[in-house]
Subunit: 499 residues, 2 copies
């Protein structure tokens, strides 16, 4: 079975006459905004992972579900692939367009349809921004928990497609844990409801299956999310360490002590210095690592937990433990963390952000190995990540204008992901597979497992027209990948030239 | 597509020579315990839903994964269906055997393989009892949260297969929310790992898809669950009401007030009286309804929440609000609730336990409708349920020896489930679909949706040999069901004679 298109789809797809398709769409959907001129298409050539770029054939910007439905039917009939996207902030190239495909931009579906405070749910269109849901729920004392760093811009439909995470996922779970229901259109434009407004749904759990499927199983037209009561108070502790290994062990100790922080984040020296230079958060610039530990809940509870966490941190060898003395300092501590990526970006012309997950107990060892790999490849790596979840985000610094540096960065990134798999982890925590990590899926899964994925894809989309070339590699690709790995003795990481 | 066997499978399956199969199994697996004599098979003729009974052809009791693998391969080659079960405590007939099938009893896989307190996980064999996990984790201050009423007996493999719930699911989620990884064997005996020890897995979420799939997608050989820190304290409030509607509204009010109780349970007058006669829990026997609300966490937090919940209950019209004065009284309050089913069983020769879920806001209206239906059908209904989740368990009292009462009980039960679907709920909360509610699946899902379920089943098990006739109805069955529904003007609920 090999029903998924490869990313080389543009090469093997039958030539679609762009003008014919455009005219058919304009005829059937006279009110639909369609972009087709090169200068209009250019802004849509990539998502948040700018290393991969392809100019789409056409960009459609519908406002009504009926338009999406008609478009899907027309494309299905003409065998034209469709890539849906929301705000396009994804970091794995999951919404990367195709030269011979239509990019379906759902950003105009931006209405909050219902906030039901007694049922604690919000029913929204897919283009609604993540943060807008919490803002709309705030008058009821409620909020939507998953908080990707891009939450001011990213859309909930994209969050569902990538099973997005964030700082608070340690305590409150990923997108999949905070969803009740999604309305979708299948590749043939048929509407379907996955999940329900209640506790459980009978039959197979199609909602969970759909979440994180990266636009390959259907197009989201409505999302119902759970809302949570806003915690009364939140306090943050900052702990400094003279080695990353000690900080890594402290993370495991906090969790083992029976405490579930709202967030538990780690930054290494390179990231600390970069953030401090940029934001002036008050970080100790000589520390080899810092931990930021947020505790949220009711006053007394948070107070007691702060004391316990301080003790654990001290026992784990922290050279300093500070509690943000007021809300302004708390916000400043987090501002440093939340701006760490752009801060590190100031140190280097380019950086490559990885996303892998490991069991927490492996943190000290993996951090040590990353340091060794960094020296071996001659590239600096900054570590800024969701330590409590074991969700690492190594940032590899390089200069694409220096010959060979891009290739070295890719090779180093691949090594780090392989290391994650080797210690029992996985190649993604919250960014998804997308285009970026499709080769590493061959390391994570064997061909039997991939065959299952393909069969599930076929159950929803036998035509293979929805977002081909992402998330699930073809067996053929993995065979090639494996062969390259074995014979050439080099690491065959994504060839950035192709897209 | 119609690849699933119907429950009439025994009628349409090719005749399997029991002796030949037995000899082949004995030859290939000389150490495997196989039961084949009628008197040995009889104890396995039903699960916890005793209304459905079928004597299996053979019962296999393996101890090693290799035995399960060989058995599956042999059965697959000979086209013999296999029904796996754990402790057989399920309430929907999900593990009901087949006359021409092998019942694969996984109860001997009862080893706890690992308790990792720093990673907060337990790796166990599928036959380990639910409560045994919490007992093993207790020395580390941890426990496994989902707590079905049968937790002393039910096995974790069965919990995964049915996505089991319990009193504490309001706060801590269903089985699917507390799982990290399962090891399975496919219908062809191939091992597969679903999920991982870390936060997220790339690709489609096969773990969630598998959870609640009722043994139709594979046989579970190992389960890794999340463990939670045991709450410092737990307090319980008992509130009495002079109407079930008021109690129903109070439930919605508590949730809307931003409080997440550990458990929030409701009993109506019939259940209160039955439980009080049986357990002497100290319940107010004149109340039309009581709520039991447990608050757990750290001392100060629980104290504050108890005060807030008391206020909400009083405002909602509670005639009395009592806090259990000590641990002995708290345990007594819960003993009444946990023994409510057998207590109600003392009032009537037979009872039929339903399991449906509705949005919380619909509780008062649905409780009123159940009362009206009860009068209309001339059968008493006791309500004992997870009110916080909107997970209803109406118990319909009847006497199977009185002509027509069983049929009336079934018809009334069907009406109640249809009512759940009508108000936006679903036909199961935590018991699963199994054999019992397979017809109601036709009311819950349309043929497009069922076709997806069939395609997913086919992706895992194209042979259809794993637990045929449960969970997902054939389109043919639904067509018949619909036709009966329309033409005969009567409710075609499960014909209990067949199994």
């Amino acid at each position: 079975m090999n029903i998924l298109y490869d990313e080389r789809i543009d090469g093997v797809l039958p030539a679609v006459d762009k003008q014919q398709l455009l005219q058919a769409l304009q005829r059937q959907l006279p009110d639909l905004d369609i972009l087709h001129r090169p200068e209009e298409l250019r802004p849509y050539e990539c998502d948040g992972l700018s290393a991969y770029r392809t100019t789409p054939m056409l960009v459609a910007l519908p406002r009504h579900v009926e338009e999406v439905q008609t478009l899907l039917r027309l494309c299905h009939a003409r065998r034209v692939p469709v890539v849906a996207r929301g705000a396009g902030t994804g970091l794995s190239g999951g919404a990367l367009p195709l030269e011979k495909g239509v990019l379906l931009v759902m950003a105009r579906f931006n209405q909050i349809l219902d906030i039901d405070h007694s049922a604690r749910l919000a029913r929204v269109q897919p283009g609604v921004r993540n943060l807008a849901i919490s803002q709309a729920a705030a008058p009821h004392g409620l909020y939507y928990a998953p908080d990707p760093s891009s939450q001011i811009a990213c859309s909930i439909g994209g969050n569902v497609a990538e099973n997005a995470g964030g700082v608070h996922c340690l305590k409150y779970g990923l997108t999949v844990h905070n969803l009740l229901k999604v309305e979708i259109l299948t590749v043939e434009g048929e509407p379907m409801t996955l999940g329900s407004d209640t506790l459980d749904s009978p039959g197979f759990d199609l909602l969970a299956l759909f979440t994180g499927s990266e636009g390959m199983l259907g197009v989201i037209t409505e999302v119902t999310v759970k809302l949570l009561p806003r915690p009364q108070v939140a306090k943050v502790l900052l702990a400094a360490f003279d080695s990353v290994e000690k900080a890594g062990r402290a993370v495991a100790d906090i969790i083992a002590a029976g405490i579930i922080p709202g967030g538990l984040e780690m930054m290494d020296n390179l990231a600390i210095r970069a953030a401090e230079d940029f934001i002036h958060a008050g970080y100790p610039v000589d520390a080899q690592a810092i931990l930021l530990c947020e505790l949220d809940g009711v006053e007394a509870d948070v107070h007691a937990d702060c004391e316990r966490v301080s003790e654990v941190l001290t026992l784990a060898g922290a050279t300093e433990v500070r509690q943000a003395k007021d809300e302004a300092e708390r916000v400043r501590f987090w501002a440093g963390r939340k701006n760490a990526f752009p801060a590190v970006g100031r140190l280097s012309p380019d950086y490559y952000c990885m996303d892998g997950t490991i069991p927490r107990r492996e943190l000290p060892g993996v951090l040590r190995s990353i340091k060794e790999l960094s020296e071996q490849y001659g590239l600096r790596v900054a570590n800024v990540f969701h330590a409590g979840d074991g969700n690492m985000h190594p940032l590899i610094l390089f200069d694409a204008n220096q010959s060979g540096e891009l290739e070295r960065a890719e090779a180093l990134g691949g090594k780090i992901l392989e290391l994650c798999v080797k210690v029992g982890g996985s190649i993604t925590g919250e960014h998804g597979v997308g285009r970026e990590k499709i080769n590493q899926m061959c390391a994570q899964f064997n061909s039997d497992e991939l065959t299952f994925f393909h069969a599930i894809k076929a159950a929803f989309d036998a035509s293979g027209l929805l977002n081909p070339g992402k998330n699930i590699p073809t067996l053929h690709r993995c065979a090639e990948f494996g062969a390259m790995h074995i014979h050439a003795g080099q690491l065959p990481f994504p060839n950035l030239e192709r897209f």
